[in-house]
Subunit: 414 residues, 2 copies
C-alpha cells in the first residue's frame, strides 16, 4: 500500500467525459490498495475566462476579490470529480482550501504556509478519497486565496509533503519531460528520469511542464514526482534527487535537455561613465522594483572611457524597467537605453556537466559554425545559457540537440 | 439613513456591463447615506449549466458535492460585483455563506437556520458594503449548502431580517407584480402594493416573480419587500402586511390578481369501493412520498356503489404518484388510474375577498358564459381556484381579469 497524490491539469478535467477518464485512473490506484488524494485544476480555459471577467470589472482589481472569483473553477471540478467517483461506487468527497484548511500567505500569488492533514487522515482511515481543488487556500483572515497561475502543481506537491505521501503523480497533456521541444526537434526523446535541479533549470528556461515553484518544493521535501499523460497508458518521467538518480545506475547523457525561452528582453545602456557605483546605481532600482535581471555583459573599455552594459529582463517587466532606468539616467549619466525583444535564451541543462569540461565550449563552437551570433552568456553548475537573435531559435535548438547527442536513435553521436 | 438589502437576480448579473449597472444602483443607495448589503444571483444560465454538469457526472449525484459545484456561480458574481464597486471608489467586500456564516440545515434545498451578523455590523460600522452570494450557506459540518432553486430571494429576506434592515429590495427583470401575466392580458396593471398573503397565493399559483419561501419569511418578520426593475428607473411593487396596506388607505380592487399554473396534473381513480378508509388509503402513501396533493373532488354516488375520486398533483410528481398508487391498487380495490396533464389552475386572489361574498360565484358564472368546463375547485380565505382544460388558459385569464375589473383604463367596470 502506498499513499499518493494524483494531480490532474485543466485539459484532463475539460468536460465530463474527461473527468470520467480521470476517475477511472483514480479508481485503479484505489483498487490497488493505495490511499489517494486527488488535486484538480479548473477546466481548461475556465481560469482565463474568470481572470478576464475580473479585468473587465475593474482594471485595478482587488486581489482578495480576484481570488474569490478565480478559485471557483477548481471548486467546480473538484465537486464534479467527487460526484463521478461516487457514481463508480467509491467513497469520495471534496475539501476546499478553507475546509482542510490549506493556509496561504496572502492573495493572488500566495505561498502555502501550512496544510492541516487531520481531515485527510480521517478520510484515509475511513477508506475514502479526498478530492482537493488546486490553486487555492485560505488566508489567516479566513479569505479565499489563490497561489498564482499554475499553482495546482504546487498544491499537489505541498499536499504530498504534508501527508507524507510516497509519491506525487502529475497527470497532464504531455507524456513526460523531453530532451527538448518535440515541435522543434522531432527526434526529441522522452526522459525516464531527471533530477529536481535539472527540472528547475529546464522549467525556468521555458520547458513549461511543471510550475517551477512545485519542483522547488518537491526538491525541498525530496518528494518523488512523476509527470505522465492523462490520455495514454505509458510510463512518464520521474523527477528525483541526485542521490536517487545515482542509485538508479542509469546511463545518461552529459546533457539532459535543451530549452529555449522567448520571454527575455535585452536592454543595452550606452555611454556609461567609468566611475565607482555606476553599475550598482543601475541594478539597485531594478531590484527594488522586483525586476529579475538575468544575463549581464559589460564591455571593458580603456580606463576612463565610457562603456556599454547589456543585460536581460523578463519581457513582461521591460516597460517597467525602462521607466525605472529613465528615472536614474541623469544621475548616473549614461547615454541611451536600447531595447530588443527579438532575442531568445537557449540553454543546455544536465547534472553530468559538473564533471565534464568543454560543455560550454561545444555550445559556442556549434553555434559559431552556423554563424549564430551570441549576445550574452550565463552559466550555472548544471546549465549553460546563451542569448541569441530570436530568428535562430529552431536552428540553434536542433543543432545543439544533435551536438550533445540527444537525438533519438543516434546514441553513437554522444 | 436606512439599512437595506438589495438583491439582484441572474439577468441583472449577466455580464460585466449589467454588473456595472447594478453597481451604479448600489452606489446611489450608499451615496444617500444608507447601509447596504447586496445579495446576488449567479449569471443567468450559469446555475442551469452547473446543474447539468452534475447530472452528467452521475445520475444520482451526491447533494453535498452538488452544492459545492452549483454554489460557485454566486461566488463568481459576488466577487465581480465587489471588484466593480471598488472600481467606483466604494469600500466593498464579498462574504461567502461560510464566511459570515449563514448556517443552513442541510444540502440542496436547505433552510437557513441562523445568520451571524457580527461581520456585517463591522462592515457597516466601517462604512462598507457587504456583497453576499445568494442561494448558499454552510452546514453544521462546515460543508457548502445551497437553498434550492430561486433561493437567493430567501437569502436576501433572511439577511434583511437578521440585520434588522428597514427594507429588502428585490431587483429583477420585471418592474413589479402585475394583476396578471401581461403577455396574456395587455391591459394588466402593475400593482403598487400587495400583501404577503396575496403574494404567497399569487406565487404559489404561477406568478413567479419571487420564490414562495422568501415571501413567507418576509411575512414572518414583517419585512417590507419591494419588487422592482434592474433595468428601468421606476417604482416597483411594495409587498407588506395587511396592517400596512390598511394604513396606506389605498383604494383597491376586491381582487388583486389572476394567476394561472400549468404545473398541475389531474389524477382520476375510478371504481373506488364504498368502504371506510378508502380515501385515507390513497392519500397516506402520497403524503409519505412527499407528493403535494392540491385539489380534491369526490363524486358522491348512491350508497354502496363505487365512486370516482379526482385530485391534482404537481406535474413533476405525476409519474412518482402513479407508481405509489399502483402499489396500493389491489389493496384498496379501485379500478383505473387516469391521468391528464392538459389542465391549468386559474386563481383569483385578493384580501378584499374576505369581506365580499359572490367572488367565487362570479368566477363560475364568467367561465360558464364562455362554455369553459370546471374540473375541480378549491378556495382559501383570499383565493378561489378552478381547474380547467389547458386550452382555455388565455381565454379564462382574460375574461376573469376583465370580470373582476382589473383591466387598465376600465375602472368603471369594477
Amino acid at each position: 500500500m502506498a499513499r499518493i497524490v494524483m494531480k490532474f491539469g485543466g485539459t484532463s478535467m475539460a468536460g465530463i467525459e474527461r473527468i470520467r477518464a480521470v476517475a477511472a485512473r483514480v479508481k485503479r490506484e484505489v483498487d490497488s490498495g493505495n490511499q489517494v488524494a486527488v488535486v484538480v485544476s479548473a477546466m481548461a480555459g475556465e481560469t482565463d475566462r474568470l481572470v478576464q471577467l475580473c479585468k473587465e470589472a475593474a482594471a485595478l482589481y482587488d486581489p482578495r476579490e480576484y481570488d474569490v472569483v478565480v478559485a471557483s473553477g477548481e471548486q467546480v471540478t473538484s465537486g464534479l470529480l467527487a460526484i463521478t467517483l461516487q457514481g463508480m461506487g467509491l467513497n469520495a468527497k471534496s475539501y476546499m482550501g478553507w475546509q482542510l484548511p490549506i493556509r496561504a500567505s496572502g492573495h493572488s500569488a500566495a505561498l502555502i504556509e501550512n496544510i492541516d492533514v487531520d481531515v485527510l487522515e480521517r478520510v484515509f482511515d475511513g477508506g475514502g478519497i479526498a478530492v482537493i481543488p488546486g490553486f487555492q487556500g485560505v488566508t489567516s483572515e479566513g479569505a479565499v486565496a489563490t497561489l498564482g497561475r499554475g499553482g495546482s502543481d504546487t498544491s499537489a506537491v505541498a499536499l504530498a509533503a504534508a501527508m507524507n505521501a510516497d509519491r506525487c503523480d502529475i497527470y497532464t497533456d504531455v507524456d513526460g519531460v523531453y530532451t527538448t521541444d518535440p515541435r522543434i526537434v522531432p527526434q526529441a526523446r522522452k526522459l525516464d528520469m531527471v533530477t529536481y535541479e535539472e527540472m528547475l533549470e529546464l522549467a525556468s528556461v521555458g520547458a513549461k511542464v511543471l510550475q517551477t515553484r512545485s519542483v522547488g518544493l518537491a526538491m525541498r521535501y525530496n518528494m518523488p514526482l512523476t509527470v505522465l499523460s492523462s490520455f495514454e497508458d505509458k510510463p512518464g518521467t520521474l523527477i528525483v534527487g541526485d542521490h536517487q538518480l545515482e542509485e538508479s545506475g542509469m546511463e545518461r547523457n552529459i546533457i539532459t535537455g535543451i530549452a529555449h525561452d522567448k520571454n527575455e528582453a535585452m536592454v543595452t545602456l550606452t555611454g556609461l561613465p567609468d566611475k565607482a557605483g555606476t553599475v550598482a546605481g543601475i541594478f539597485a532600482p531594478l531590484a527594488e522594483a522586483n525586476v529579475n535581471v538575468d544575463m549581464i555583459v559589460q564591455s571593458v573599455p580603456r580606463t576612463g572611457e565610457p562603456s556599454v552594459l547589456t543585460f536581460t529582463v523578463p519581457t513582461a517587466s521591460l516597460a517597467h524597467s525602462v521607466a525605472e532606468l529613465q528615472k536614474v539616467q541623469d544621475d548616473i549619466g549614461f547615454q541611451e537605453i536600447l531595447t530588443d525583444t527579438n532575442v531568445v535564451k537557449i540553454s543546455a541543462v544536465g547534472v553530468g556537466m559538473r564533471s565534464n569540461a568543454g560543455i560550454a565550449a561545444r555550445m559556442f563552437q556549434t553555434l559559431a559554425e552556423r554563424g549564430i551570433n551570441i549576445l550574452a552568456i550565463t552559466t550555472s553548475e548544471i546549465k549553460v545559457s546563451v542569448l541569441i537573435p530570436e530568428e535562430y531559435t529552431e536552428l540553434a535548438v536542433r543543432v545543439l540537440h544533435s551536438a550533445y547527442g540527444l537525438d533519438a536513435n543516434r546514441e553513437d553521436v554522444a
